[in-house]
Symmetry: C2
Subunit: 406 residues, 2 copies
C-alpha cells in the first residue's frame, strides 16, 4: 500500500469530481466556502455509518435510509457547513428534499442518487434559497482537478483550523486502485458517531454490503475510538462511494487484495480520525490511552473512555502534570472490578506505577513525556487479555472560552 498523509484526496481515485462554494449559510457574508458537492459520472455503490444519537438531523435520517438499501447506487454527495439542519422539524425535512431536488436537477440525475450531510449549529432553519443558489454555483464549478477537491475540503469545515485528508493506493490484479478520504471535526466529538463528517471515494467496484462491512470495521477501530469532548453529535456521518472506474471489482479479486483494500480503508479512517483529534477545538496535545489486560473488550473500552473523558485528567494533560492519581481515579469509576494492587501504568515506555507501587525515581522522566505534544498512557489491569484504545486530547481554557457562546 502506498499512503499519502494529505493532498486533494477525494479526486485522486478516477472519475470523481468536486466543488466547493460560498453561499453564505450563516449569513455572515465572510466569503467562507460552505457548500460542496462530490460527483461521479459513473454510478457509485455506497455505504455509510451514522450517529447513534436519539436525535438525528434531517440529512442523517434521509441518507441513512437510502444507503441501507443494498442495491442502490449514487452519483453525488451534497455537504454544507454552518447549519446542521438538526432539530428543525418538518421544515428541516422539506428543506433537505429541496436541496436534493436541486442537486438532481443541476446534475441531471435522479433524486434518490443524491446523499446529503450537514454540519453546524442545531435548531435553526436553513436559509434554503441561499443553499439552492449555492448548489447551482457548485454544479457549474464541478471539476476533477485538485482545486475542486481543495474547495470541497474547505467547504465542510466548521471550527476546524485546517483541512484533513489522506489517500492510499493498492495493487490489484488489474493495476492500481485508489482510495481518498477527508474529514471535518472539531467539536461535539465522541463519535459513535461524532459532528464529524468523513467522506471516502474509491475507484474500485464493490457491492454496497461489501463496502458496509469494510467501512464498519474501519470506523469501529478509528472514528469510534476518538473523543474530544465526549459530546456525540446529531449529524455524524462517514460515507464511502465506490465508482468502479479503475475497472477493478473487489469481489473478483483475491483474498489478499480484498484484505489490502480493507487495510487501506482502515489506514485512511485511522489517519483521518487522528487528524480530527489533533485538530480538536483548542487542543494542545494528542494522547493515546491504551488499556491492556482487561477482562473483555467492553471493559477495556469503558476504562479507556472514563480516562479520556475525565475533565480532571484532561486538565492535567493541558498543564503537563504527570498526575497518575487522577488516571487511577477515573479508571476506578469505570467500575470494571479492577484492583489497584494489580494496576501498572506507563507514560510511553516509562513505568509510573508497578502493581500499585509508584516508581517515583522516574518522576522527572514522567514530566518530560507528558510535556510533549503527543504521548501514550498505557494501563495494565492484569485481569485478562483484552485490550482497548481511545485517542484523546487535553482540555484547555481556550476550549471553554471558545464554546461559551456561539
Amino acid at each position: 500500500m502506498k499512503f499519502y498523509e494529505d493532498g486533494e484526496a477525494l479526486t485522486d481515485p478516477q472519475g470523481f469530481f468536486c466543488a466547493g462554494v460560498h453561499c453564505d449559510v450563516k449569513g455572515a457574508r465572510d466569503g467562507k466556502l460552505d457548500l460542496g458537492i462530490i460527483y461521479s459520472k459513473k454510478p457509485c455503490n455506497a455505504a455509510g455509518v451514522f450517529t447513534t444519537n436519539d436525535v438525528q438531523a434531517a440529512p442523517v435520517r434521509y441518507s441513512k435510509i437510502l444507503v441501507a438499501d443494498g442495491e442502490s447506487t449514487f452519483h453525488a454527495i451534497l455537504a454544507n457547513s454552518g447549519n446542521a439542519n438538526a432539530c428543525t422539524g418538518q421544515q428541516g425535512e422539506n428543506d433537505n428534499l429541496k436541496m436534493v431536488s436541486e442537486v438532481a436537477r443541476q446534475l441531471n440525475i435522479e433524486k434518490n442518487e443524491v446523499l446529503v450531510c450537514s454540519t453546524g449549529r442545531i435548531g435553526i432553519p436553513l436559509p434554503i434559497s441561499r443553499l439552492t443558489a449555492g448548489i447551482r454555483d457548485a454544479s457549474e464549478d464541478i471539476v476533477d482537478e485538485c482545486e475542486g477537491a481543495r474547495a470541497f475540503q474547505k467547504a465542510i469545515l466548521t471550527s476546524d483550523t485546517c483541512t484533513k485528508s489522506c489517500s492510499a493506493k493498492i495493487k490489484t490484479s488489474l493495476g492500481e486502485v485508489t482510495i481518498g478520504g477527508v474529514v471535518k471535526g472539531a467539536g461535539m466529538i465522541e463519535p459513535n458517531m461524532a459532528t464529524m463528517l468523513a467522506f471516502i471515494t474509491t475507484d474500485i467496484g464493490a457491492k454496497n454490503m461489501a463496502l458496509k462491512k469494510v467501512l464498519s470495521d474501519a470506523v469501529e477501530h478509528s472514528f469510534n475510538r476518538i473523543t474530544i469532548d465526549g459530546d456525540m453529535s446529531t449529524n455524524d456521518t462517514v460515507l464511502i462511494l465506490a465508482n468502479g472506474a479503475s475497472g477493478c471489482e473487489l469481489s473478483k479479486e483475491s483474498k489478499s487484495v480484498q484484505k489490502s483494500f480493507a487495510e487501506a480503508v482502515n489506514a485512511i479512517c485511522s489517519c483521518l480520525a487522528r487528524k480530527c483529534v489533533t485538530d480538536g477545538e483548542k487542543v494542545t496535545k494528542f494522547v493515546k490511552v491504551k488499556i491492556k489486560g482487561a477482562k473483555d473488550d467492553t471493559s477495556a473500552m469503558k476504562v479507556a473512555r472514563c480516562i479520556s473523558n475525565s475533565l480532571l485528567v484532561k486538565s492535567s494533560w493541558y498543564g503537563s502534570d504527570p498526575n497518575w492519581g487522577r488516571i487511577v481515579d477515573a479508571a476506578g469509576y469505570a467500575k470494571v472490578g479492577l484492583s489497584f494492587e494489580e494496576l501498572s501504568i506507563f507514560y510511553n515506555e516509562c513505568p509510573v506505577l508497578k502493581n500499585g507501587k509508584p516508581l517515583v525515581e522516574n518522576k522527572s522522566k514522567w514530566k518530560e513525556i507528558v510535556s510533549a505534544k503527543e504521548f501514550s498512557i498505557i494501563l495494565e489491569l492484569n485481569m485478562g487479555n483484552a485490550v482497548g484504545e481511545v485517542w484523546s486530547n487535553d482540555l484547555s481554557e481556550e476550549y471553554v472560552n471558545f464554546n461559551k457562546s456561539e
Copy 2:
C-alpha cells in the same frame, strides 16, 4: 422542623465535641487547619455511605467495614485534608491504623470506636508523624463550643472557598432532637459518592440499620444527584453519628416523628449537596436539570446526567448562552429512545421548545434566565411518568486553569 442554613452545626446536637488543628499535612507551612476530630462521650450508633469507585482509599476501606456491622458503636471520627491516603498500598493501610491508634490512645477509647476520612491528593504517602502530632493537639483542643465545630469545618476543606453546614431541629415525644451536618467539596465531584466528605451528628438514639436506611435514602436524593465535573472520587464518604444524648429513641417514637427525622436528614443532605455544587471549583452558576415524562427513573437520570456533564452544555451556561440545541444533543446521546418531536424544554417557567418546535418569540427571556446565577432546565420527554433531577454547574476557563496542575 426548624432549619438553619449554616452555623456551627456539628456541636448543635447535645454531647458532641469538635476540634480542628494545623499539622501541616501538605508540608506547605501555611497554617491552614488540616486535621479535625468529632467526638462524643456517649457511644454513637453510626451509618455511612461510601464511594463506589473500584479504587478506594485506605480510610474508606477501613471505615466501611466498621460501620457495616449493625451492632458497633463509635466515639470519634478523625478527618484530614491535604492528602487522600489513596493508592498508597500497604503503607497507606498501616498509616491509617497508626492514626486510629493515636486517636484511641488520646481519647481513651477502643480502636474500633474510631472512624477515619481523608481527602486531598492521591498517591502520596501521609507524613504520618505530623499527623499523629496533630491528633495529640486536636485531642487536647476538643471542646463542645462553636469554636471547635468551626475549626473542624475549616480543617476538612481542600479547594472549597467556604465552610458549608446546616442543622435542623424536630419535635419528638420527649422534646427536641437536633441534627447537624457539614460537607466539603469541591473537585472530583460526581458522588455516587464524589472527594466529598459529609458528616452528620444527631442526639437522637437509633440503631445502625435504621440510621443506614434514613441516610441511604437521603443520599440517593441529594449527594448522588449532584455533579461538578463528572469525576467520582476514591474517598467520598457521608457519615452519621447518633449518640442518643437527647434521651429520645427513634424506634420508640411515633411514625410521624420517625418521618420527620427522615425528612430532617433529607433536608440536611439536600442543603449540603446544594452548597457543595454552588461552591464547586471556579463555578459561576448553579443549574437544576429536571427530567419529566421519562419511561423510568433510570432513563430520567441518564438524560439528566448526560446534560449535566456535557462540556458543551456547561460551557454555554458559563457564557449565559441559551443554547437549547446542545441540551437536545446531550439528551439524545443518553440513548433512552426519546423522540425530538415529543420533546419540550423550559428555562425556569419559560417555554423554549414545545413538542420539537422552538418558541423563538421568547428568545430575549431565555437569555435573561440563563444569565442569572441560578436557574432550572426542565425537559419533558413525553414517554411516561418518571422524573429525575441532577444539580449541576457551569464549566469555566478558571476550572481548567485551576486543575491543570496540582
